[in-house]
Subunit: 88 residues, 2 copies
Amino acid sequence: MYVILVYDIGEKRVGKMLRLCRKYLNWIQNSVFEGEISEVRLKELILKAEKIMKKEEDDSLIVFSSPTNKFLDKQIIGKERSSIDVFL
Amino acid sequence: MYVILVYDIGEKRVGKMLRLCRKYLNWIQNSVFEGEISEVRLKELILKAEKIMKKEEDDSLIVFSSPTNKFLDKQIIGKERSSIDVFL
């Protein structure tokens, strides 16, 4: 399946969340990821993300998923995420 | 068409961008919006957003669009954006 994932979490947990999500998906913006992923791997990612998140501090994660990206168009205005960010 | 919009922009311009996007779409997370919008209105929104953005300061905007949200599933983990944020 094709997935778009966005998170909004406390600064302290951002680095950990970023590293986790990059193992499963492509990083396209500050807190936005996309990519092809199996249902099983997505469940695994969400479980691991929930362990990082602090819901009492209003952390949130949204996952849009679709069986295909055939009907999905993407338009990027401004800076594209590039490899200069690998230090994170 | 159905749209998911995410931005990553400098703090100084966040309020302006938020107010703009809320006129066209539903706010679902810090910098994430979604909703039904016509192609003409989407173009208008992007044009206005570009006037707010400073590309030299790495501002970025990503718009995913689809003719329908029939194939799109949404899962929210953690806090959902609510009306307590109307003061912004």
